[in-house]
Point group: C2
Chain length 344, copies 2
DNA sequence: CTGAAAGCGCTTACAG
DNA sequence: CTGAAAGCGCTTACAG
């Protein structure tokens, strides 16, 4: 049997309470006693039972997730996964609140974060945005001792305990490499679509993509079309772009609004369609992939990200280590052949 | 606060013990009483606290993993992940034993499985193999009431509670599609390497790959080279194959032994190298990818598979539901740009 | 068929 | 600075 506090107590001739103090590094134990306990723990190979501790502490974790509102289907996926996790975790003394703020609006995000405090919240997962207001809000949360992880979009310079999401430069590079391979030596222009060049993740994806294309002979990127992640704007901009650049051989949409892109390309005869790479698996992009309108999808797993954020926050609070490999969010590539089963 | 057994007891005017019986569907409760409890649970919204139950039951889960021995680096990864999980889970009343049997040896596997029983083991994760001996061993485990999941390689017809691994037909199709895209209209032959055509996962990968290549004009697959997953055999066979087929434009290794493949191709001038797609990310394949010897790696996450197997077995025993999306093993595609950070 | 009590491994006041 | 005791939400014998 695994040793318990009781065993360590008996072995060291001390009480359970004292062992507990040492195990949890609580103050008020003589150095001599600490050493006595530590040696007993070492010889017995004591390991703290975290679930028993949770139970005794009757702590209820209350995590706040902040994502974007609007029709962006990746955000919908995040919302669904958060809700699923919420229901699934109800039997674990764990509550989850979901808030949605407008994208591209740091002020709104900061206002929300500034309302959070330890009385009602034990940790925060947030889609970060640049800007002083957001930074100050994060500084405040840190001062309050609330653990914070950035989700999907990071600002490395701001105080946060971890980033849960993909490396967007690498994602852009991946798209660039696929584009180069798929075009296999053909020459021409590549149209780039992004939500906004003021948003870090799109800027990073673009940089990665252009890095790779710059090394690829015969291919050049056009200036980025900024769509504010709005399908209708994507559709209009792309249509105009295609008609004014007959030499477009590829399209990379690093943002949302795939519906608009698909609309536009459906009007193009299959034999004349450029190679198309987009981000985020959704009902629409999946369908476009199977129709041959889209050639590859770069994806990140919303469910994985949500669960990982939760584990990271909980580990921070419980001061327990994480399984590193489990928290690494992958840059996934989907072709028509390796699509996961569609959700029911 | 979430309601507890005590609350339900008070609300229904019964004792905690009776509530417990109903919650856990234990026998010996009058139908009338059952209904009384159920209605109380429903109105209070009672949810069982699984961790408290685990603690009280002081059940120690003891799971057995059976994988292959030998130098196969994917098996090494599995072994590492199992060991990591073992250490990580020690504080969860959870023990894990790892056994390794020779690959391609159903008799040895069956012998091992036949030694398992509920006294020393509460669940089994096993790399399945076809054959009567294995089937009978699985039938025996089922009769003993031990939950079993097949890991990495499945035999759908055999009794098991779940399969934790990828769809190998889809993996083969994915490799085939990538090959077609990368070759971009070039004509020629494709060399196929597998461990054995008597092993289901390789047979399935081949089928998927050939399905896609058959639809691709200008490409044909050569007969499969069977290497028994031995690097040296791969090296020799491939060298001979390349020299007798100067029109080889692609190589697909659906099995192990990538080291041999890399050796052989290192000797080929870069400009004359075929497109190469292999399975399983490893130190060697990763390096070959960065050197441009390998063009893409189809991968499955050993850590994810091991953790998933554990969750599935535990859920079976605890009779709790699973988070479906979390247990879906992905067919991952790696290019040089989206490689995860190398393990330290 | 139902209930009272002890216990799982820990934490938390409270005493001393 | 250290310890005895109650309690977290559940399960398990044991009584009745």
């Amino acid at each position: 049997m695994r040793p318990t506090l009781k065993d360590v107590a008996r072995h060291s001739g001390l009480s359970i309470a004292t062992i507990d103090r040492v195990v949890n590094q609580r103050p008020g134990v003589r150095q001599k006693t600490v050493e006595r306990v530590q040696s007993a723990m070492a010889t017995l190979g004591y390991i703290r039972d975290v679930t028993a501790a949770d139970l005794a502490r009757r702590e209820v974790y209350r995590f706040v997730f902040v994502i974007h509102d609007g029709p962006n289907s990746f955000m919908q996926q995040l919302a669904v996964e958060i809700e699923t996790l919420r229901q699934f975790s109800a039997n674990n003394r764990l509550e989850i609140d979901l808030y949605r703020v407008p994208p591209f609006d740091g002020a709104a995000l900061a206002r929300l974060l500034n309302r959070l405090d330890p009385a009602t919240c034990s940790g925060v997962a947030v889609i970060a945005a640049d800007g002083v207001a957001v930074r100050d809000a994060l500084v405040r949360l840190k001062a309050l001792g609330l653990p914070v992880v950035t989700l999907v979009s990071d600002v490395p310079a701001f105080p946060r305990d971890a980033y849960v999401g993909i490396d967007n430069v690498a994602a852009g590079r991946t798209a660039g490499r696929l584009m180069g391979r798929f075009l296999g030596g053909r020459n021409g222009k590549i149209a780039l679509v992004a939500g906004s060049m003021l948003v870090r993740d799109h800027v990073e994806r673009r940089m990665g993509f252009e890095q790779v294309i710059a090394e690829t002979r015969g291919l050049d990127c056009l200036p980025v079309l900024e769509s504010r992640d709005d399908s209708r704007i994507v559709q209009r901009m792309l249509r105009d772009c295609l008609s004014s650049h007959p030499d477009i051989v590829g399209i990379y949409n690093m943002g949302a609004g795939n519906r608009g892109l698909i609309e536009t390309l459906s009007a193009v005869p299959p034999t004349e369609r450029p190679q198309v790479i987009v981000h985020e698996l959704s009902e629409h992009s999946r369908h476009a992939l199977s129709e041959g309108i889209v050639d590859a999808i770069i994806h990140q797993d919303a469910g994985h990200e949500v669960r990982s954020a939760l584990r990271v926050l909980k580990a921070k609070i419980d001061k327990i280590p994480l399984l590193q490999g489990q928290e690494q969010i992958r840059i996934e590539i989907y072709l028509n052949e390796n699509l996961p089963a569609a959700p029911a």
